[in-house]
Amino acid sequence: MLVRSLATFGCAIALGACSTMGGGDASRSAASSPSSASAADGPYASTYERFPGRPTALVGATVYDGAGQRFDNATVLFRDGEVVEVGQGLATDGYDVIDGSGKFVTPGVIDIHSHLGDYPTPSVQAHSDGNEATSPTTPEVWAEHSVWPQDPGFSRALANGGVTALQILPGSANLTGGRSVTLKNVASRTVQGMKFPGAPYGMKMACGENPKRVYGGRGRMPSTRMGNFAVNRQMWLDAKAYAAGNRSRRDLAKETLAGVLDGDILIHNHCYRADEMALVMDMAKEMGYKVTAFHHAVEAYKIGDLLRENDVCSAVWADWYGFKMESYDGIPENASLLWKAGACVVIHSDDENGIQRLNQEAAKAQAAGRRMGLDIPDAEVIGWITLNPARAMGIDAMTGSLEPGKMADVVLWNGDPLSVYSRPEKVWVDGALLYDALDRKRRPVSDFELGQPGEGDVK
């Protein structure tokens, strides 16, 4: 296994992650999102430290930088955990050279909507830790307190999906489900060891069928969509009163809500229908907060203009539809039509299987657009699963694209990542090689899988 060399790497070099330092790397910490609500500070702080890596040059590959650019026959340089440069004909002295000819390089894939760890496999009742479905508003719960770092799903997302960072959200049983946590997809004994240094917190909200079904079914409010809004609005009014005071009395729920009102905690709002998203955006205006992203958003294509004007991202599936009433109008062209409207597109999974194929989902969404005459460049489509989710998670200054100084979260694909026939060959997180398809020991195996049939199998 990996041996962590704290003396060499740890705090000394370029790692704003170190819990023991306030910002050993000036540029990194300056890039961090609002500190008061970031995972690096406060309780349960991140203890993630990058693992040792070699200065690496990927030479001759086709590179999508995540920010919309494509480089043919290019070189990607990274060292000390950071991207150094991307371009053609770069000198590789001092770097381990890896031949990338015929292969592709992208930033690490980022999933903005995952429940890994909170709903881990095996999916037994004892592992059902994603919905605190005992009250319709639970801003006081934190997803990180449910994450089981031994969920085998993390390793599949890394090896098969090239996923290097992901946001773990509470479920959608509640109108306000609690705080999310953004993780590095790096195996750790503790969730703190996975927490993405400097990432802002998010808060999960849900509109529509789920909350009213869960609570209406118990004869409680909300049992209707209007009940959903009434409960939410009162919650915000109470939170505003708290935030306007001296905040001296500890109140876990109000602290999270105040963080949202302060702009430090980002709202991730599960919502399917166009009309409801429009209402939620008005609720945000009424109460003085911002919706960062609608998740699922199967009807986003009906209001691409509104979403663009309100600067709200839509995190969508490629083709899910019709599994519940509010998803009945889902169409495969959703992402492409949003792109056409100039709105922000993110492809998400919400699924321990789908997270292994976000690249394929993006390709499907792109192809649906192509068939209706929308020709979206491959390089932009890669952004749907890299830089755009990074933006909506508030970590785009640190990762999501292969720009100099950013974290060296990198995937070397054995072919075009927008093809079904391609898989990650190597995955680096902060410049550390954490998956190598050509080295059977360079793959994580969770505690749970030790001694089981198929331990260490290719999966």
Partner: protein, 460 residues
């Protein structure tokens, strides 16, 4: 498929060409026949009277036939969706519309999926538009370990969906079956064995003849038999029977091996127990469903000659019965000589039936991954065309472009296993199918968001 004279004789049915079936040839296309072979470029497919005449290179379009230029296109058999719920619901989560399981029914094995089919379900229309032409449809075990009798259907745009009613019986002997049956696998096995014995006895006593118990085919001209449950001959039964008469009658063809028994089992140990059923009931015609740990019992499965309809890409220990799940499962079973199809895709999430092509493509991707076991392109296509058709009892007749096969075929705009490709034209029984549906209509309405003249509601 297309409307036809249901009152016609068996012989007439056998010979009848579907109304509106076209005679045509697709030329200069990349053609894959679905039989496991690799695709062939610059090939021609000829269709006459709803059947494939020939497919390959060196085939020429007959004089007078409509010629479709297939340059740059791919042609394959229509996709066969094995063990799905297509047609049994409109919206999974809307219970009023959902007939996928009968959780409160007093009946079990007697449930007949063909009674609930809705050809206008958007799931059917969406699947058809993406090249799914046939399916085996089942009702999920819910109140009992038995799900009831599944049907083989076509997805043609006409009122009659059934290709073969009562095509198979389904039973769950995995974790779910154990919970349903009373809390343990022991109970599930006892229930199944008791049920089969009751059926055996009931079939003998009621003098239900073998021929009359044979499931009917309305599509291929076999005789339409009298349903044994409707023949009016009661039989005396002991007071301690568990099955209703209706359910016992439904299991008579199963115990006689005249109707396949599809058995859900994931764990290697569960699979081995299923295979042992043949010791006590030697005539059972078994098919395994799921089999996530099939690779651990692959030799035994192959030796028993039991085909598998597998979940395509399971690689997580979803339960303690799937600890060894890996995407290489299907490839490893293939290596051991097991006949494997992809199936159990349903609903509107990632596992919706139209994504079977993507899953098959992923099995090809495994061939480029060190240590993994994948399928060749031709084998992968076969898992969603000829193999499921063969398991359903239609080998050589469906899911293939073999001469004489039913002309269910699709013209694709590219490699059908690639995520960017889609169906351009879909034929069922040689009849070109409409591909519009709720989704395509929404797409057209919201192509732009302009409401300067009238609300969107007037844009149709």
């Amino acid at each position: 498929m297309m409307r036809r004279a249901l009152l016609g004789t068996a012989a007439a049915l056998a010979l009848a060409a579907p109304a509106f079936a076209q005679d045509f040839a697709i030329t200069n296309a990349t053609v894959a026949t679905g039989d496991g072979s690799e695709p062939v470029e610059n090939a021609t497919v000829v269709v006459r009277d709803g059947r494939v005449v020939a497919a390959g290179t060196g085939v020429s379009a007959p004089a007078g036939a409509e010629v479709i230029d297939g340059t740059g296109k791919w042609v394959t058999p229509g996709i066969f969706s094995a063990v799905t719920d297509l047609g049994l619901s409109d919206v999974d989560g809307v219970s009023e519309s959902n007939d996928e399981a009968a959780g409160n029914s007093p009946f079990s094995a007697a449930l007949d999926a063909s009674r609930a089919l809705n050809p206008n379900s958007q799931d059917v229309l969406v699947a058809r538009a993406d090249g799914i032409t046939r399916a085996s449809v089942y009702s999920r075990p819910s109140a009992s370990i038995f799900g009831g009798q599944g049907a083989v259907i076509d997805l043609g745009a006409d009122p009659e969906m059934v290709t073969r009613t009562r095509a198979f019986q389904i039973v769950d002997l995995g974790e779910t079956g154990a919970r349903i049956s009373g809390g343990s696998r022991t109970s599930a096995h006892a229930l199944l064995r008791n049920a089969l014995r009751e059926a055996q006895q009931y079939g003998d006593r009621a003098a239900i003849g073998a021929a009359t118990a044979r499931p009917s085919e309305t599509r291929f001209g076999d005789d339409v038999p009298l349903d044994p449950r409707l023949d009016g001959r009661d039989s005396e039964r002991a007071g301690d029977v568990l099955l209703t008469r209706f359910d016992a009658a439904a299991l008579v063809p199963v115990v006689r091996g005249e109707q396949p028994l599809y058995v859900v089992a994931e764990r290697a140990a569960d699979i081995r127990e299923v295979l042992k059923l043949k010791r006590d009931f030697p005539r059972l015609d078994l098919v395994l469903l799921g089999a996530s740990e099939g690779w651990l019992a692959a030799d035994a499965i192959a030796a028993a000659g039991v085909p598998v309809i597998a979940d395509p890409l399971d690689d997580l220990p979803t339960g303690f019965d799937q600890l060894a799940a890996t995407q290489s499962n299907i490839g490893r079973m293939r290596d051991a000589g097991v006949t494997v199809a992809i199936g159990r895709m349903s609903g509107g999430t990632g596992e919706q039936p139209r994504n079977a092509r993507q899953y098959a493509g992923n099995l090809v991707a495994l061939t480029r991954l060190q240590g993994a076991t994948g399928l060749t392109w031709g084998e992968a296509l076969a898992t969603i065309t000829s193999v499921p058709a063969q398991i359903a009892g239609f080998g050589g007749r469906l899911g293939t472009l073999t001469s004489g096969a039913t002309a269910d075929l699709v013209i694709w705009d590219g490699d059908p296993l690639e995520v960017g490709s889609a169906a351009e034209a879909v034929f069922i029984d040689g009849v070109r199918q409409p591909t519009d549906n709720h989704q395509t209509r929404l797409r057209e309405r919201y192509r732009d968001l302009d409401e300067s003249d009238l609300p969107k509601a007037y844009d149709w």
